[in-house]
Structure formats: structure tokens, C-alpha cells
């Protein structure tokens, strides 16, 4: 009898895993020649940095395009704002650093796989080749886990409130006939502003007045 834990996912049993949830698989197999390559996104020279940014942009863009392609009568990846959103997530210091690193590492693994398979960087492949490679990667456990995480990012960009710079012109909601709840988030209570204010809530507690040394001042 299986006793594996899993979530009950309803209004009573909600706890949907929050983004990003922990990785299950990392890419372990590296061919020796590739393993000594310079890290894909980190480099000392400015020139290399510029190149890297471009390549990273292309890589993320392309992968998102493959996962969520343009199709008729539906928002494309551009309409979701998913690319900028991905960049915000990997820079969001409130999120677990390991998770953010995982999202970034996946990009490197995709490129390493491209090198192993074709001796070329992923961005140098033709679009059909790139699609083929992603298909192949999706069959590896690390690839499936990481691509699934990339899809989560896209789902958030497609369906969260446009206040987050995503779901542009509510295109995702309109496409899927989704009716948002009311009240909608405002600049005051959206993430992470609500958390910043969480620190404000501390200052308004009466604690300082209650403590007997009364020395520290209110942090307004």
C-alpha cells in the first residue's frame, strides 16, 4: 500500500505547492570535455558578459516560445510577459536562493545538452532542432522537472493579476474565460509590498510602550 504523501487540492485542502517548489532532479551526467567549460552565464570579460546576456535572453525566450508557442486566437508568450517575469523571479531575494539558482542552472544544463548532442550552443541551433532537443530533454527526469518549473513560471505569467506586469491586457484571463475575484490587488497589498508592510505592522504594535525599559524608539 502506498503511503506517499500528496496534497489534497481543494478549497479545504488547498496547499498547492508554492512557486518555486523544490527540485527533485538535478542534471548529474556531464561529459568530461563539457565539464571544464567556463560557466555558461558567468564570465569576467565585459565582452563575454554582453554576449552571455544576449545568449541567455535568447535561450529563455526560445524555451518559453517552445513551451507556449503562438497559436491562433490565443495569447502568445509575449502577451504573458513571461520573459521579464522570469527575470524578476530569479532576482527576487525573498525567494529561496537555491530555487532561483535551480531555474538558472536549468538553462546551463539545456546548453550543455545541446553541446553534447550537437557540439553547438542551444541558441545556434535552428528552431526545429531546438524543439527536437527540448523534446528529448523533457524525457529526462531532470529535464522534465526543470521544464515543468518553467511552465509554472509561464502559468503564473499567463494567469496572475496584470498588476505584476504579466497577463498583459488580461489576455490570459480573456482567452480562458476566467473571471477574476474582487477586490483585485492594489499596489499596497500585492506581493511583495504586503510583506514590506508586514514589517510596518510590527512598528504599530504596542510592544515598546509595554516593555519596562522603554528605551528603543518607535520605528515609524
Amino acid at each position: 500500500m502506498s503511503k506517499v504523501l500528496h496534497n489534497k487540492e481543494d478549497s479545504l485542502f488547498p496547499s498547492p505547492p508554492k512557486l518555486p517548489h523544490r527540485r527533485k532532479f538535478i542534471r548529474q551526467v556531464l561529459l568530461s570535455g563539457i565539464a571544464v567549460q567556463l560557466p555558461f552565464f558567468f564570465s569576467c570579460s565585459e565582452e563575454r558578459k554582453d554576449n552571455t546576456i544576449h545568449r541567455k535572453t535568447d535561450l529563455v525566450n526560445t524555451i518559453q516560445q517552445i513551451l507556449f508557442p503562438d497559436t491562433p486566437d490565443s495569447p502568445g508568450i509575449e502577451d504573458t510577459g513571461a520573459f521579464a517575469y522570469f527575470n524578476r523571479i530569479v532576482r527576487d531575494e525573498r525567494l529561496d536562493p537555491e530555487e532561483r539558482e535551480y531555474l538558472q542552472n536549468g538553462l546551463r544544463w539545456v546548453n550543455e545538452t545541446a553541446q553534447e548532442e550537437t557540439k553547438k550552443d542551444f541558441v545556434q541551433l535552428t528552431f526545429p532542432q531546438q524543439k527536437q532537443l527540448i523534446k528529448k530533454i523533457s524525457a529526462y527526469s531532470w529535464g522534465e522537472a526543470w521544464l515543468s518549473r518553467m511552465l509554472t513560471v509561464i502559468f503564473e505569467a499567463l494567469l496572475l493579476d496584470p498588476i505584476y506586469g504579466v497577463n498583459l491586457q488580461e489576455s490570459g484571463w480573456k482567452w480562458l474565460g476566467h473571471v477574476p475575484g474582487s477586490p483585485r490587488p492594489s499596489k499596497r497589498n500585492r506581493y511583495p509590498d504586503i510583506l514590506i508592510r508586514k514589517e510596518e505592522f510590527i512598528a504599530v504594535s504596542r510592544l515598546e510602550q509595554l516593555s519596562n525599559d522603554g528605551k528603543h524608539t518607535k520605528n515609524k
Partner: protein, 565 residues
């Protein structure tokens, strides 16, 4: 530097959720000086919105797992014991850490226990491997407090005649039932065709305004979301707001209690807590009440080692943390394809926000087909799939073969799922039998951000739970079939819902086998009461919160009697 709060309080309460709310309310109203130490921040009604990002995608109402985690220990598929922190698994065990606790985010499905739940052992006999006992109080003892909750917290509903209706001291609910979706009438007809009624499901939601609280606006985002109309009966809105108005209640948010210190004998003298800045503070009071939700309550007692209590406060018999229970059962559902329905019905079915509010009680008790034995069954609640669009989309990630879905196929699937289907779900509730295999202790290694040991939760279930769950799932599926739903499925498992937890400090007459006495005062500590779900030796077959609220009202009366002596 440590600080001591100036004032001496009559009562210091740890936590501010459903278990704490009634005590805060009753004691403040009775004129006693009450201090509430709440670990989380104080969100006001205006801070809540229907933002899936805040409610479900990021740790806002709950701590970040990198800061505070649980360790879950369970038997894996190979039959070995495996321990993983929730940070490592991504499986969050927090429910709501803020003023009002999880009660801000509950859906408010409210059902009373039934008389037989108070005497499970004598009614249905012992079950090998399960620590089933009778409660030291009866349904009749708790009934007046269930009624009090209906009136003070606010419960809406409608009574019908059915064989498992609990005895009541009032004729009806104080608030009429909430508006329902057309699907409720389909369910009624389906059940009728099977020969029994479905019970209208009461909710801790106001259908009409009361005082400063508005009626429900059918926002379509209830469970997991804070309520913007104050219709939901959270402890914050229904009880704490009123307590604060008396001027007798001081509430300190961001105050995480980590130690209850005794005088070396059997009396607590102060509670130690970290304030918002991480500084140690202490508060003194005559009586201490802990209601930090079952797991964290046991954890706090176990952390509070004192002279005479080397294994943790009130843990004279090693029972603190033991017999932890959850709600057993599972979930299931079925699809209605809008194109297959007459246009009018499809339209009615698609109306967002209206409730389903139906529950199956017919099998609260049943006879086992093979043995003919009288069995304790449970309930099944029917509800719509949650409106959260990201979560809905997440469920479409894998195809029927378990392969990742992406590209044009994914888009097509999303479109069909969101636009063409309305999913009706059901949730099965039966007893999670208390066993020696399900308990809380302190993790020997893992610490939270303050350096305190986290709760390590051993999770095990009794196979009997699954047997009953499967039986109920079978009945629920029959109803779903009779409504015409398609793709009907059910999933019964021993997976614990983190939001429905109880036990760990069971109450009883015998100081050797229980932690609390029948008044929920610790047997071995003069001035410690526990008023969250920890006291429950068995959990019944419904959600717990109405019972937690009712019992906390009952214990509040006991504390007032004591203080007045």
C-alpha cells in the same frame, strides 16, 4: 537584551486563531486583563484581496520555508521510514500565521460532531492498532457551545430531517442558507433517486449582515483567501475585534513564544517570546492558554523543559505530541461538459461564486457488507473546483500517460479545460484513527530561524481509515453518476491534510494516559489550558473548527469560573 512587559495579566494566550478566539473574547468581555501573543503579523480586512499570488503562490500568510519548516517522517514506497523537511519537499505544513490564524483562510464548512463521536470506543469497539477512547465529555455537554458559535461567530444553514441529524437546542440556524448554484438541486435529485437526502452544508459565513460585518458577496475565492466583507467567521473578525473594543485585551503580533517557564513547581510564571526585532521578551500572567494549532502547541510544550518537566511541560507521562490526528478520507470529482447541457443549464452551472453546500451524511454509520459489523462511516462534502487559475492550470501539466504537456497541445488542453468544463468535486471525511505511529516530537537537528528545534511529525495512518474512505468514495461516486457528471474519479489516501490537524494533547480523566483534564487544563500544571484542537482524542468525521470554537467557549467559561473564585 531581555525585557519584561510591565503589566501583569490575568491570562496570557499563545496564538490568536480559532482555538484562542473564544477565550480572548469571553475573558475580555468578563473584565479580565488578557494578553495575546501571536507569532504572525496583523493583517487587517483591507489588506486582503483576491490575489492568487499572495494567497497561494508565495509565502505571505505563512512563513517562508527557508526560515521555518517542519520535518515529516513517513513510510516510503519501499516500506522504509523516510524523513524530509518541508523545505526540501516543497510540501508546506503551515496554514495561517497571523492574527486570527488559519481561521482567516478557512472555507468555513461547518459541521458538528455527532453524539457517537464522543464515545467511539463504546459505540463501535476497539480496533487493533488504534488508540480509540471515549471522550470525557458528551455531546450534550458541548451542545450549548455549538449553539453559541452559531450565534456569535455566525453560522448559516438550513435544517432538514435526516437520520443523523445531531440533537439541537434551537430550532434553526440564526442565519438563512447562502445562495446556491443550480448544481445543488441536481445533487439533491441524484441523492433522492438513490433513496436518501443530502444535507445542506452549514457555513461559518454570514448570509445577512450583522453588526459591523457585511453579508457574503459570493466572491468565488473563499478558501485560502482572507474575506473582504468580514462575512467569514474568522476569530479575528468575529471575536478578537470585539475583545479589543472592551479595552481589556492587548494583542502583540510578531511575538513568537518559545518557552513557558515554571516556578520550579507546577505553575507557569512567564512566557518567553521573540519580538519582531528578534529580541527576547517575557510576559507574566496568572493563567496561560496555548492555542498555536495542534502541531505547534505540542512543539511549544516539548520545548518548554523546566525543573520537574525534563521532557517538556505537562509531559509527565510522555503523552505530549502523541495521538496526533488529521482528517482521513480523500477527494474526488467529475466533469460537466457545458456543450452537452441545455443552454440554460450550462449558463446556470457556469455562474461563479454561488455555493454547492451539500453533504452526504447517510453513511455516518453503516454495516460492513462482508462481516455485517456496524461501522463508523463519515461524511462527503460536494463543492466546485477552486477558481484559482494558476492552480487549475498546474493540474493540466501532465497528460494521461504522465508525460509533460507543453506546446500547442498544452494550449489546446487549457482552453478546453477552462472554457468547456465545470468540475464538481467531493471531499471525504472519516476518522483518522489515533495510532502510536502518528505523533509530534522535536527534531534533533533541524532548527528554525530563531535557532529553536522544529516539529518533526511522524505520519502514519491505520488501514481501517482507507477502508472506510473507500466505502464513502463509492457512495459519492454513485451520486456523481446520478447527476450526469463524467470522468468521475476518487482518490482515497493516507495523506494528511495539514490544515485539518488535531490531537497531541488529548484530554481525559486519567492523568496517566492523557495530557489534559476534562476542562482542558493540563493534569500536571496548575495554570495551563490548551484550547485548540490538541485536546481531541478522536476527531469525528467532519472538519474540526466548529468543535474547536465550541470547546474553547466551554473552557473559557471554566477559566472565568476559576478566576472569579
Amino acid at each position: 537584551m531581555e525585557k519584561t512587559l510591565k503589566q501583569q495579566w490575568d491570562v496570557c494566550i499563545v496564538g490568536s486563531g480559532a482555538g484562542a478566539g473564544p477565550v480572548i473574547y469571553e475573558l475580555s468581555k468578563a473584565g479580565f486583563k488578557v494578553l495575546v501573543l501571536e507569532k504572525g503579523p496583523w493583517f487587517r480586512t483591507g489588506d486582503f484581496s483576491k490575489d492568487e499570488m499572495v494567497a497561494a503562490r508565495r509565502s505571505v500568510y505563512t512563513p517562508r520555508l527557508q526560515d521555518e519548516r517542519h520535518v515529516l517522517e513517513y513510510t516510503n514506497e519501499e516500506g522504509n521510514l523516510e524523513a524530509k523537511s518541508t523545505y526540501d519537499s516543497g510540501r508546506d505544513f503551515w496554514n495561517g500565521n497571523c492574527v486570527g490564524g488559519s481561521s482567516n483562510f478557512m472555507s468555513g464548512y461547518f459541521q458538528r460532531l455527532k453524539p457517537q463521536d464522543f464515545r467511539l470506543l463504546s459505540e463501535y469497539g476497539a480496533i487493533e492498532g488504534a488508540n480509540v477512547v471515549d471522550w470525557p465529555i458528551s455531546y450534550e455537554d458541548l451542545e450549548p457551545y455549538y449553539t453559541k458559535v452559531e450565534q456569535i461567530v455566525g453560522v448559516s444553514g438550513r435544517l432538514i430531517d435526516h437520520p443523523f441529524q445531531e440533537p439541537r437546542s434551537t430550532d434553526d440556524f440564526p442565519y438563512p442558507p447562502l445562495a446556491e448554484n443550480v448544481v445543488s438541486s441536481w445533487l439533491d435529485k441524484a441523492a433522492e433517486s438513490l433513496g436518501y437526502p443530502l444535507v445542506p452544508l452549514p457555513r461559518a459565513i454570514l448570509s445577512q449582515p450583522s453588526g459591523e460585518r457585511h453579508a457574503c458577496v459570493y466572491s468565488n475565492y473563499c478558501g485560502s483567501y482572507g474575506c473582504s466583507s468580514d462575512a467569514k467567521g474568522s476569530a479575528r473578525v468575529a471575536l478578537i475585534h470585539k475583545a479589543l473594543k472592551t479595552g481589556n485585551c492587548t494583542l502583540i503580533p510578531n511575538a513568537k513564544v518559545y518557552h513557558l517557564e515554571t516556578n520550579g513547581k507546577q505553575k507557569i510564571v512567564r512566557a518567553w517570546f521573540y519580538d519582531a526585532k528578534g529580541q527576547k521578551q517575557k510576559a507574566e500572567a496568572g493563567i496561560f492558554v496555548v492555542a498555536a494549532q495542534a502541531v505547534e502547541t505540542s512543539r511549544l510544550l516539548l520545548m518548554s523543559k523546566n525543573p520537574g518537566f525534563p521532557d517538556g511541560l505537562a509531559n509527565h507521562n510522555g503523552q505530549v505530541g502523541k495521538n496526533l490526528i488529521f482528517s482521513a478520507g480523500g477527494t474526488g470529482g467529475g466533469d460537466f461538459f457545458l456543450a452537452e447541457l441545455p443552454e440554460k443549464e450550462a449558463k446556470q452551472l457556469s455562474v461563479p461564486g454561488l455555493f454547492v453546500n451539500r453533504s452526504l451524511h447517510q453513511y455516518y454509520e453503516y454495516r460492513d457488507e462482508k462481516t455485517g459489523q456496524r461501522m463508523k462511516g463519515g461524511t462527503v462534502d460536494f463543492l466546485f473546483e477552486h477558481a484559482n487559475p494558476v492552480s487549475k492550470a498546474m493540474h493540466r501539466k501532465w497528460d494521461d500517460e504522465g508525460n509533460l504537456r507543453y506546446g500547442a497541445a498544452l494550449k489546446e488542453d487549457l482552453k478546453n479545460y477552462f472554457r468547456k468544463v465545470r468540475k464538481l468535486k467531493f471531499e471525504i471525511f472519516n476518522d483518522w484513527l489515533p495510532t502510536d505511529g502518528c505523533f509530534v516530537r522535536l527534531d534533533p537537528k533541524v532548527k528554525d530561524k530563531w535557532g529553536d528545534p522544529v516539529a518533526r511529525i511522524r505520519i502514519d495512518y491505520h488501514p481501517h481509515d482507507l477502508e472506510v474512505g473507500e466505502f464513502l468514495a463509492g457512495q459519492a461516486k454513485k451520486i456523481m453518476e446520478a447527476t450526469g457528471a463524467k470522468n468521475i474519479y476518487a482518490n482515497v489516501s493516507g495523506s494528511p491534510p495539514p490544515n485539518l490537524q488535531a490531537g497531541g494533547c488529548r484530554f481525559g480523566h486519567d492523568a496517566e494516559t492523557s495530557v489534559l483534564d476534562p476542562d482542558c487544563k493540563a493534569h500536571s500544571v496548575d495554570n495551563l489550558y490548551i484550547t485548540d484542537g490538541s485536546f481531541m482524542p478522536t476527531g469525528g468525521s467532519v472538519t474540526y473548527t466548529w468543535t474547536i470554537y465550541a470547546n474553547a467557549f466551554r473552557v473559557a467559561e471554566k477559566i472565568i469560573e476559576r478566576l472569579r473564585k
